[in-house]
Amino acid sequence: MTAYTPHDWIDVGAVEDVPLRGARVVHTASGDIAVFRTGEGKIFALRDRCPHKNGPLSQGIVHDDGVTCPLHNWVIDLATGQARGADVGCTGVIPVRAERGRIHLGVAALAGRVA
């Protein structure tokens, strides 16, 4: 077994691959990850499962640092994974960083161990 440290990162694509105010999906063994790029160019990554009824957050509308789920309009905060407003729930936040125009996800997440 490979021993991943929390500091191992994996390149999943270019920053430009994700549209501004949009998202793309990364398929992994432990489920889909949604990678978001906000209007201001900030990058976030979450488990692509809405805490309400597992809606694919990657298909939602991205605004400020949040995304509105396409199924029933919950608004999920991209930084914390928490539902905003009156709704309660949380989805897993995936470690992500952007470097020299590339997006890297924390390796542990890809291997199935959610950070």
Binding site: T2, A29, N54, I61, H63, V75
Partner: protein, 816 residues
């Protein structure tokens, strides 16, 4: 027979006299009104919002044709009076007709002053006085270009702001060193200049216009120092002079204006005057408040109350440029015996100055925060001694006697005689007592009964506060529901401002309309995207990221994140080839569910997102295109078999349905649109619960609309009957376009109809053939850009990233 009253001029003063007179003594006179303008009476002071696009002309009409008819007033529009014969007691119009009078009222207003420089008569030089001037400016603004406004007073600045909002490059030339120097002191004038410049308007002070140059039309304005400023239009707003020439020619006593005594009677006892044309105690006025006071006296005099008297007015000014708050009243020249209190708060852009004499306010200027204007004006008019509150006076009424009051408490603390509406001279007591006496619960009601806030509108906030004080919970001020939490504006305002301010992108809307969030939310972004698309067809670039997922990927998302695909079946007609292709696609992509929909077509459910382009490619190959089952768009046109097969059929209902669908598919609408055509009143296509339904009959086609069969159930309304298929199509298309232009996002046709009224829709698409044609043409134009199969585009590679994961990782552990 009642005596004859002739009124010359149909402006604001005349309008107000007629209101009072016909309210108080409806039978007293046979009234004939001559107006040089070819239209009914309107609120002239709201021309600036019409120019800027914040209001339509219809919204500023004060008396429409029906009003005159109901009061048996004979209004002769576009008829100028050219002579008064006092001996014969007649007036003569330009067309030669002669009309006798017993009493004559002169209400001819003012003439704009045109600076007598070379080139002043060139086409493209306009004044700013009436709707025709506004229309000339709007025509010029259509081509962008540059405008020069001569005169930095109230009118000039309002014109400049309006033209800027219409997208012109605007320069204001002002002769004096600071703007609005008659009302503002230099410091406030400077703040105002900065505010205008912040809007992108160039302001040149100490600018003396030398000539207007151009060959056959205006091309530039030349200043004394030789500077030339290019101009496609020049607006002269340097002042007005009373329009008293007609009266002078008739031998009436004229000074600057037509002289009247305190009874508003001229040197001829049978001739009265009112408004800006009149001169009273040596004063001529250029604002509405005095003339409304005069109008009361004139009406009383005409009605036989010879004691009614006018004694002059103290006026105040407010600049009506959205976002610039400015108030001034009284006199603020410096003087030996005068003192000043000044408050400056540069950070908040606030400036207030009071001029005092003998412990009384004689002048007040406020910039940036004008809420206390009415209170200061009241103290000024009553010459109230302010010695006791001098220390806190400048902070306004809220601070008198200690801590700041909240705005509501401040209004509550006002005395009953405090003036609320400066234009109409309406005091607090009058408003509150009318609310109670007449049981008024709406702002419109209060406006109708008291006139408060009915003219320039700047006291609307105060009136609303009074309403909530008087009515408590019964008054719901937020009559306009904001679009979402990102803005205070309602859908209608946003739609209007997008066009008025020429806003063409979502960021521009958010910037200009002061959105509270950085990039909107899932409620406003799709709405804005639609409004922009509808406003600027062919020009606006659709913002995919602001579309709900279904419209972004042209398929319907399902609960498990898969999609459903519905190809179009024109009018519900299909054939073996299409059916075979659908069956093949279902097999090839292992699509789990194939279902017949309520709209007479076939739904393929459970398609994986990455398979969508390939599924569409196969359907396209069989000649099928997107059915827009996912869109706020035309969904289906359901039909029955009509004369093709049915023994009851009266018309080719299937053919008409297909024709409508082929004509209209692809068009985006505020909410989904479902239609149906039935071949006879047995109505097998269930047309009477659709957004638009046609019932064919022997004599032609009954067009229905505004039905619903979803969350609400509602039968349709009958819009009209037409004889031919062509006409049916024309009406349906025009109706849909009107809906596209007027409805709020997500508002179905039945809800829109309920809001705007069936009559207004029928008037636009049935009665007014010209308007129907214009709507039809706009729809056809926008279809040029809409009728492209989105599936084919994506099959060809558009938005490919949408359908592919960014990366795919197999579990590494397993590989090792």
């Amino acid at each position: 027979m009642s005596p004859k009253l002739v009124v010359i001029g149909n402006g604001m003063a005349a309008g107000r006299v007629l209101e009072h007179l016909t309210d108080d003594a409806p039978e007293a006179y046979q009234i004939t009104v001559f107006g040089a303008e070819p239209r009914v009476n309107y609120n002239r002071i709201l021309l600036s919002p019409v120019l800027s696009g914040e209001k339509t002309f219809d919204e500023i009409v004060t008396h429409d044709d029906a009003w005159y008819a109901a009061r048996s007033i004979d209004l002769l529009k576009g008829k100028e009076i050219v002579a008064i014969d006092r001996a014969a007691k007649t007036v003569q119009a330009k067309d030669g007709s002669v009309t006798p009078y017993d009493k004559l009222l002169v209400a001819t207003g003012s003439l704009p002053f045109i600076v007598p420089v070379p080139g002043k008569d060139l086409p493209g030089v306009v004044a700013y006085r009436d709707l025709d001037d506004v229309n000339t400016m709007l025509a010029a603004a259509q081509h962008g270009g540059s405008a020069v406004v001569v005169g930095g007073g109230l009118l000039g600045l309002e014109a400049a702001a309006g033209l800027k909002m219409r997208g012109m490059d605007v320069t204001v030339l002002h002769l004096m060193p600071t703007l609005m120097e008659r009302q503002l002191d230099p410091a406030a004038g400077h703040l105002l200049k900065k505010a205008m410049e912040a809007r992108g308007i160039r302001v040149i002070t100490k600018a003396n216009t030398h000539a207007i140059v151009g060959d056959g039309k205006v091309e530039a304005v030349r200043l004394d120092d030789g500077t030339e400023i290019p101009a496609d239009i020049v607006v002269m707003a340097v002042g007005i002079r009373p329009n008293s020439g007609l009266a002078k020619a008739a031998g009436l006593e004229v000074g600057r204006g037509l002289k009247v005594d305190d009874h508003m009677v001229t040197s001829d006892p049978d001739v009265l005057a009112v408004g800006e044309c009149a001169e009273h105690r040596g004063q001529c006025y250029g604002l509405v408040a005095p003339l409304f006071e005069m109008a009361k006296v004139v009406a009383a005099q005409l009605n036989g109350d010879t004691s009614a008297a006018y004694t002059g007015s103290v006026t105040s000014t407010k600049l009506k440029v959205t976002g610039v708050d400015l108030f001034s009243a009284g006199d603020f020249a410096e003087g030996e015996d005068r003192e000043e209190i000044v408050l400056r708060d540069a950070a908040r852009g606030i400036y207030k100055r009071l001029v005092l004499q003998d412990d009384r306010i004689i002048g007040a200027v406020m910039y940036g925060e004008t809420a206390d204007g009415g209170w200061f004006l009241d103290l000024l008019r009553k010459a109230t001694c302010i010695a006791d509150m001098r220390d806190t006076l400048i902070f306004g009424q809220g601070y008198v006697g200690g801590a700041a009051l909240d705005p509501m408490a401040a209004v509550a603390a006002l005395p009953d005689e405090a003036e609320i509406c400066g234009c109409n001279g309406v005091c607090k007591g009058k408003i509150t007592s009318t609310i109670t006496a007449k049981g008024l619960t709406t702002l419109d009601g209060v406006r109708a009964h008291t006139k408060a806030s009915a003219s320039c509108g700047s006291c609307t906030g105060l009136v609303e506060q009074l309403m909530s004080l008087t009515l408590g919970d019964q008054f719901n001020r937020a009559a306009v529901q904001p679009m979402c939490a990102c803005t205070e504006l309602g859908h209608d305002d946003v739609r209007r401002l997008i066009i008025a301010k020429d806003l063409k992108t979502i960021p521009a809307v958010m910037q200009e309309l002061e959105w509270k969030t950085s990039c909107g939310c899932a409620k406003c972004r799709p709405a804005l995207n639609y409004y922009l698309l509808a406003a600027w067809p062919g020009e606006y670039v659709d913002d995919n990221q602001s579309r709900f997922i279904n419209e972004r990927v042209h398929a319907n998302i399902q609960k498990d994140g898969t999609y459903s695909v519905v190809p179009r079946m024109w009018g519900g007609i299909t054939n073996p080839r299409e059916l075979r292709a659908i069956a093949d696609v279902a097999d090839k992509f292992a699509i789990p569910t194939v279902k017949v929909t309520g709209g007479q077509r076939i739904d393929l459910l459970g398609v994986k997102k990455q398979d969508l382009p390939a599924v569409w490619a196969d359907l396209n190959a069989a000649g099928m295109v997107s059915g827009h089952a996912y869109g706020k768009a035309l969904r289906t046109v359901k039909t029955c078999v009509g004369t093709d097969w049915c023994r009851f059929g009266t018309q080719d209902s299937t053919g008409l349905g297909i024709r409508i669908e082929k004509f209209m598919w692809g068009s985006w609408t505020p909410a989904k649109v479902k239609m149906a055509v039935s071949g006879c009143p047995r109505n097998c296509a269930e047309a009477t619960c659709k957004d638009v339904g046609v019932i064919c009959v022997d004599s032609g086609y009954d067009i229905h609309f505004a039905g619903a069969a979803g969350l609400d159930i509602k039968g349709t309304e009958v819009l009209t009957h037409v004889d031919t298929e062509d006409e049916a199509l024309a009406v349906i298309v025009a109706l849909t376009q009107l809906y596209r232009e007027q409805a709020r996002y997500l508002e179905r046709i039945y809800k829109w109809t309920k809001r705007v009224g069936i009559e207004s829709i029928r008037a636009a698409v049935v009665d007014d053939l010209e308007r129907r044609q214009a709507l039809f043409d706009r729809f056809v134009y926008s279809q040029k850009f809409a009728q492209v199969d989105p599936w084919a585009e994506r099959v060809a590679g558009a938005e490919a990233h949408e359908f592919r994961p960014m990366a795919h990782f197999e579990p590494r552990e397993a590989a090792e």
